[in-house]
């Protein structure tokens, strides 16, 4: 097996044992980057030199008898909205083009301390606002399975980097499905953990009460490994849950015997037929492995999109106000500070970001708060309550991740309905703060990957990973 097809779990084990050199693993991945990055555009920045130094340090540590950690020598890609000290962090926006943070995000410190080797910063929809990575100031990311199609988004670059084996694993952020949807479209595993299990410190905020960092990988075990490393309490994030890191690797082989798997009977329709077929095969596989399939209802799920498109832009309008041309990032000079603000922000933000800032500002403004933002927060509660009732009957829920497979670049601007449906299965999880993950499960139209989503209640990652591992076995 080639080094780029070796799992992160095995790479780390071999490197730690001194049987494999981190620099060789890195070189194999960089060779893939050299071969295909020009057609995929997964990265905003490739950090080959820094990566080489990290890999050499890992090898030196092993040679000196020290343990570099559970991700020893594993090449990792980071979504370009996570702060990396001295390395550009752009959020795929002109307004931050070239900005080098003076500090590392907590997750960046954690993966580095675990021995991982950062190969680059990946492309995204500007400030993570989008579902296709087409809203990047630096151009779209293309799907490694078919480079005429989108990789999904907003973490499209991180999904594509893993799918194209530019990196063994990667990190994305998920505000409304931004890890799970591109994972499904690129045929990899993607996990959105429980809100508060992974530190947001150093993650450039989109919507603070929804954002969560999570892993991409080829298999469920590698996501479990990476999530064990990045989860845990961070005293520098006030919303971080005070509990130790998740223990997941030990759950993977426990099977699903006796578990209750929820099937949502009032799931919004409109999925491609192949996607529905894969979903029913997934239920069959779980049933065959000893799980019980139970029916649940989530009547408020259909309002998720409205709640999301009020809450997320409202928070974003405030989070993105700091890009004012005073302390960092770009500035358009003008005769007074206010004119400088207006010109800088008009030139620095793309259309989608501006629309959401406008919407969010409006939803919070005097006279409209109650009608929009306030009401959305109440709908958020309804959705959360629906989930709570469903989880009385079921241990996890299973849905498609995306109703459709990867679509051609540029095609969906004129196909609003299927675009609308893109995030309808992922958004409610973020509103509730629950964990969910996408697992590749066969193919759909045009032989493109289909993902199945496993949803679990707050801090239900252990059972979620058990079910995901079973689905992975069932898909083989």
């Amino acid at each position: 097996m080639s080094l780029t097809e070796t799992s992160a779990f095995e790479i780390a084990a071999e490197v730690r044992a001194g049987r494999l050199r981190a620099v060789d693993v890195l070189d194999a991945h960089l060779a893939n980057v050299a071969a295909r990055e020009s057609e995929i555009h997964a990265f905003n920045t490739v950090t080959a030199d820094e990566a080489r130094r990290s890999a050499e340090a890992v090898d030196a540590a092993v040679a000196a008898g020290r343990d570099p950690g559970p991700l020893a020598g594993v090449p990792i890609a980071l979504k370009d909205n996570m702060c990396t000290r001295g390395v550009p962090t752009t959020c795929s926006s002109k307004i931050l083009d070239g900005w080098k943070p003076p500090y590392d995000a907590t997750v960046v410190e954690l993966v580095a301390n675990a021995g991982a080797v950062v190969v680059g910063k990946t492309n995204l929809d500007e400030f993570a606002m989008g579902s296709s990575t087409e809203n990047s100031a630096f151009g779209p990311t293309f799907n490694p399975h078919d480079v005429t199609r989108v990789a999904g988004g907003s973490s499209g670059g991180s999904a594509a980097a893993v799918a194209a084996r530019f990196a063994s694993i990667s990190l994305g952020s998920d505000t409304g499905g931004s890890i799970r949807q591109p994972a499904a479209l690129c045929g990899v595993v993607g996990v959105k953990p429980t809100y508060g299990t992974v530190s947001r410190r150093g993650l450039v905020a989109f919507a603070s009460s929804l954002d969560q960092i999570g892993p991409f990988s080829h298999d469920v075990r590698d996501s479990a490994l990476l999530l064990e490393v990045i989860s845990g309490h961070d005293p520098l994030d006030s919303t971080s849950i005070p509990q130790p890191s998740l223990q997941l690797l030990s759950e993977l082989d426990r099977g699903v015997k006796g578990l209750r798997i929820g099937r949502i009977t009032d799931l919004p329709g409109g999925s491609e037929p192949e996607v529905d077929e894969r979903l029913s095969e997934a239920f069959d596989a779980l049933a065959a492995a000893g799980a019980t399939i139970v029916d649940v209802e989530l009547p408020s799920m259909k309002f998720g999109l409205t709640a999301y498109y009020l809450v997320a832009p409202a928070e974003a309008s405030s989070n993105l106000a700091r890009y004012d041309g005073v302390r960092y990032g770009m500035r358009v000079e003008a005769s007074d500070t206010n004119a400088m603000y207006m010109a800088t922000r008009a030139a620095g933000f793309g259309d989608e970001v501006k629309r959401r800032i406008m919407l969010g500002t409006y939803a919070l403004s005097a006279g409209y708060y109650d009608a929009y933002y306030g009401k959305a927060l109440k709908v958020r509660r309804l959705i959360s309550d629906d989930f709570a009732r469903a989880y009385e009957k079921a241990d996890v829920l299973v849905t498609p991740t995306s109703p459709i497979v990867a679509f051609p670049v540029g095609s969906k601007v004129d196909d609003p309905l299927s675009m609308y449906l893109c995030d309808v299965f992922t958004i409610p999880t973020n509103l509730a703060g629950h964990p969910a993950m996408s697992v590749p499960f066969g193919t759909g139209a045009h032989g493109l990957p289909v993902g199945v989503q496993v949803l679990a209640p707050t801090l239900g990652e252990a059972v979620m990973f058990r079910v995901a591992a079973e689905l992975e076995r069932g898909a083989r």
Partner: protein, 479 residues
């Protein structure tokens, strides 16, 4: 003071909003230093600068100091939340201020003025300070006409408590008393150094006027008042301005006005008509704060005696009025414990109050003389062993040296009280050799007594007690 303050038939209605910087080591939401007066931009961190990805974490000590303020102002400490107040300004790094909105930490208290009147405190909430802008070019550092501005973020994120007073103040003097009393409380409880001149205590005044019995008038908010003295001036100016407008048939516009120390006027800063839309919403990066009862009780128990109670204690011990000058200034300087210690060491405590007030409180210096040394001196003075003049000389020496044995110093100077017959003989001599002055004095010219007393003091080399001399002269004249 008890009579109603009126200007041209109008009553003044005033409420003060006071911002105080808390005496913490670090900022409200991050760990860089909270320190005044350093080089610009040396206390900065990702949170202070509003860097992308930065997250706030609340400073426990700031919460505790805010609770001290609330409890000292008789507030209820309650569960509370933080909101974002969104507005753009270059010294506001995130373009929002984290503040408290509908659920502040402290509510419903009061402050009692020295004369006994209570001014209501609506709330005292936590929030973060802004950075500082310096305006370059143009005239005299003013914002208008400047060429550009420079921003220092050392102050950004410094913890503030905003104390919102109720509009119970009805005269400029009450406003001054309120701020003075508040300042003393803040210093006494260790919450802030509360220096208006350094900006660690800042005061905005909401001012309106009305005819007695009328409903409240339209108010204007006066900003940029940098001393207790200007506070009174600014309020009085603003009240007169409003009265003049009303009298000329014009309407008061609700607006924010700026006090200009140089011309002694207030100027329009911004009108409330283009009302700010701050788009308050709950800060999603922070969680609610609900201090446990045990913590509140602990903070309450740790509060020191407050100025008002200390003034009453000193008044009771000395017989001086609690809102009299001596008690006020000695307590303000925190020298009341020292006065009481001198009393406990055996001296007349009323005399101790006078000496401490004159030697220290009014000089703006701290007592260094051991209480026992001062007590010995006062005892010699009150027993007649030293004249008032001699006592003053010895005291000056002790204060200068930071202590000393009054008995020994008096002996070394040859100070001993003259006995009565010695003094009478000296008085007779002086009368004989100053016949003119004596004649004038006997003729009813009291001024002439000064020359006689002076001559006696001179011939006694200061040993004579002025009071005794005066009494003798009066007795000899027969009046």
């Amino acid at each position: 003071m008890s009579e109603t303050f009126m200007i041209e038939g109008y009553e003044l209605v005033c409420g003060l909003e006071v911002h105080v910087e808390l005496a913490t080591a670090t900022k409200l939401f991050s760990a860089s230093a909270n320190r005044f007066g350093d080089e610009p931009n040396v206390h900065i961190d990702p949170v202070t600068l509003g860097l992308p990805g930065a997250l706030p974490v609340l400073n426990r000590r700031a919460v505790e100091l805010a609770m001290r303020i609330g409890l000292a102002l008789n507030c209820t400490v309650q569960p509370c939340t933080f909101h974002r107040k969104n507005y753009f300004y270059p010294d506001m790094p995130k373009a929002y201020q984290i503040s408290q909105y509908d659920q502040p930490l402290n509510i419903d208290g009061w402050l009692e003025l020295p004369g006994g009147k209570r001014i209501g405190v609506e709330r005292a909430h936590l929030e973060e300070d802004t950075g500082k802008s310096t305006h370059i070019g143009g005239s005299g550092g003013r914002i208008h006409g400047s060429d550009h501005s420079l921003i220092d973020f050392n102050r950004a994120g410094v913890p503030l408590v905003e104390i919102v007073g109720r509009p119970d103040i009805t005269s400029p003097d009450e406003a001054r008393q309120y701020v003075t009393e508040l300042r003393q409380i803040l210093v006494a409880i260790g919450a802030s150094d509360a220096k208006m001149e350094e900006g660690s205590m800042r005061c905005d005044a909401n001012v309106s006027v009305r005819k007695p019995g009328d409903p409240l008038g339209t108010r204007c908010e006066i900003k940029n008042v940098n001393s207790v003295r200007s506070l009174g001036r600014a309020i009085e100016y603003e009240a007169r301005r409003q009265i003049a407008l009303i009298e000329s048939g014009e309407k008061i516009r609700q607006e924010t006005r700026h006090w200009d120390e140089n011309d002694g006027r207030t100027h329009t800063l911004r009108s409330k008509e283009d009302a700010d839309d701050y788009r308050y919403f709950l800060e999603p990066d922070l969680v609610p704060l609900a201090p446990e009862k045990s913590w509140i009780d602990e903070v309450r128990a740790s509060l020191p005696m407050l100025p008002r109670e200390r003034r009453q204690r000193l008044s009771a011990a000395t017989g001086a009025a609690a809102d009299g000058e001596a008690v006020m200034v000695v307590v303000e300087r925190g020298q009341d414990d020292y006065v009481l210690a001198v009393g406990e060491a055996g001296a007349d405590v009323a005399r101790a109050l006078v000496h401490v007030k004159e030697a220290y409180a009014e000089q703006g210096s701290e007592p260094t003389v051991p209480a026992a040394d001062l007590a010995r001196l006062i005892s010699m003075e009150t027993s007649g062993a030293l004249t008032a003049t001699q006592a003053k000389t010895v005291l000056a020496e002790i204060v200068e040296a930071g202590g000393g044995d009054a008995t020994a110093i008096a002996a070394a100077k040859g100070f001993e009280a003259m006995d009565t017959s010695e003094l009478e003989a000296m008085v007779d001599d002086v009368i004989a050799s100053n016949a003119d002055a004596w004649a004038k004095y006997c003729g009813g010219e009291d001024k002439a007594m000064g020359a006689l007393v002076g001559a006696i003091m001179k011939s006694s080399k200061g040993k004579a007690d002025g009071k005794a001399v005066t009494a003798l002269l009066q007795a000899k004249r027969g009046s």
